[in-house]
Symmetry: C2
Subunit: 383 residues, 2 copies
Amino acid sequence: MSGKHTIDDIARLAGVSKATVSRVLNHKPDVDPNTRQRILRIVEEQGFVPSITASGLAGGRSRLIGVLVPSFTWPFIPDVMRGIAEVIGQTQYELVLYSINDRLRENNRTSVIDRILATKLTAGLLAIFPGMTSPHLGRLFQHDFPTVVIDDQALPPDTPWVGANNITGAYTAVSHLIKLGHRRIAHIPGPLKLLCSRERYQGYCQALEEHGLPLDPDLLIEGDFQPKGGRLSANKLLNLPAEKRPTAIFAGNDQMAYGVLAAAEERGMRVPGDLALVGFDDISTSIHVRPALTTVRQPFYKMGQCAIEMLLSALDAPRYPIAGKPFTPFLPASLANHEDGLEIKNANGPEPIRVYLPTSLVVRASCGSPYPFTVPITATPPK
Amino acid sequence: MSGKHTIDDIARLAGVSKATVSRVLNHKPDVDPNTRQRILRIVEEQGFVPSITASGLAGGRSRLIGVLVPSFTWPFIPDVMRGIAEVIGQTQYELVLYSINDRLRENNRTSVIDRILATKLTAGLLAIFPGMTSPHLGRLFQHDFPTVVIDDQALPPDTPWVGANNITGAYTAVSHLIKLGHRRIAHIPGPLKLLCSRERYQGYCQALEEHGLPLDPDLLIEGDFQPKGGRLSANKLLNLPAEKRPTAIFAGNDQMAYGVLAAAEERGMRVPGDLALVGFDDISTSIHVRPALTTVRQPFYKMGQCAIEMLLSALDAPRYPIAGKPFTPFLPASLANHEDGLEIKNANGPEPIRVYLPTSLVVRASCGSPYPFTVPITATPPK
DNA sequence: CTGTTAGCGCATTCAG
DNA sequence: CTGAATGCGCTAACAG
């Protein structure tokens, strides 16, 4: 059961040449069905697993996929990773972890990209929430290195991209607050150099305009996606004179919403009584905070799943269980059941494809709605 | 700058054979200093990075390290990973991610081990909090596969191990509660099949005995390391008749402590007024919950750092920056500054080495101490 | 100290 | 449809 066999052993046992064994292992068509069966059986019996290293060298294409992870500390990384890992588990690919040191500088970001390019270890890269690293990813694209980006970047990407529909999500969240009667709704966006922050801001603006509400610049205070920044921004908002003070806040993510919660508590304001609050992400703790947070849920698991499937399909990867199992043609399963709200841009154009997965509004206590429910967000906001 | 060179190119440019280049790259001693310099310079200039794949194949030893990650959802994984990633970044090694699907069964756990063994992709394995997977890790040991386990296992391990000093940590936490005047202190351990749960329980018992307090079985209700389980156990404890009811609870980890907080809130009890609470781990959110949680801090970052250094040293890995930089002899830096409280068992014996890193008690609001401070835990409890 | 030779385990020609 | 031959890029013996 432990890789002590080589392909030669299998060839000998099956009474064929190793070239034939290799053909079977790689699902080449031109093999006699009986021979194929026999080889597959022996492979199975012996628990033979071809060496990723050797086949990478010989075939010129690796079966390793790089995953570029930003600081592990973002709370949704786990979900994204689960999506990725579960798909990878079905294939012969393995994941190589590239991480970016929070504390190191610019220099470090490019050096990771260089390593990925230079070692030629991996066949492709999944860049998760690259944030400030994303400008450097263009280099990969220029080198024709198969790359898929998951959400959140500082520039419009040069590479295929999977993310959530931030605009629609924000639009629905703010619309919900408006329907609850709020007229002075503040927004604490994340860093506006990040596209996702700008998109959520855009959704916020659209909702206000749509409902004939004014866009008050005093009600917009940029945050940093961290609780501390949220608290800071909230304090500024709540320090406004009573007639300008917001009655509701839409935070750019859940973590900043936690900061808002803290700020409100500090000054004895009750949420949602004195202040309604909506976040964005629906990270796992948001159901546990008090009051439970109303928020826009991002489909993190699906984002990972979809992105890795796109990457594998680009690598022309047959999706079969490990050696010996029948070949299953690839299907981008996560896109197959075209849900409402899914948007795909540049599907066939020369521009890199962009997949926008639908979000949903998870209504809990913090916005002051009578009881919890979920609003799937199925349509783009009217232009 | 992008790996378009092979070792032959460098050899040609330097006017030597590729064998010599290889020697330099691998820090072999027998090379003329001038030649070495020249080669190093050219390597640097050309941005040459040797192929991990090819050198793995040829040398018979891979420069990939496997990391076995349990469900990504444990909140301390990020810290451990950071420690690992930062050390790896200094070396020529890369990380390969193996994850265990939460939802799949037993079967799955062994199959991951099989894959690791069979593909022979990686030179060693770091198993993080293997939990229920740990029994299977014995297989690796039997196959002489270099493995280091980080904390938390169901059985005494057959392989080198790095963790925190659970007994001392728990002992100090409970002693602190006793010093604050508590006499009926309950404990909600994690699953008792996990060694770390039993060790914390042991520390709890030692502290009580040490101070002449009785060990009341009614004050011990096993949890599941999750908030929900903590809440459940806490409810049972708080339902005890007033004279038996605990005035303080020591939760087996922070997440269960959150559950205790919820249970207390539900019945209008105030923490720490009506109930003192101490957790274990000091995960990042514990400073933000209300009241801020007193807890035993585990040195997660260091655990990762220490474990990977042990593994690399076992692989006889020279710790040098990427190709071209001067060779730096390996030093297990994280153990070099022998802090107080560090315990190392079987350092030289036939038994696998076990490293116990010191914990510290982080005193915040939830235990009712006057103000926050940190107690480093420097000594083992008296036997 | 250095060059030459021979593989590592596999994929991929090219002839049959 | 199949086998033999060649080489992926590098390391490790072996001779100089």
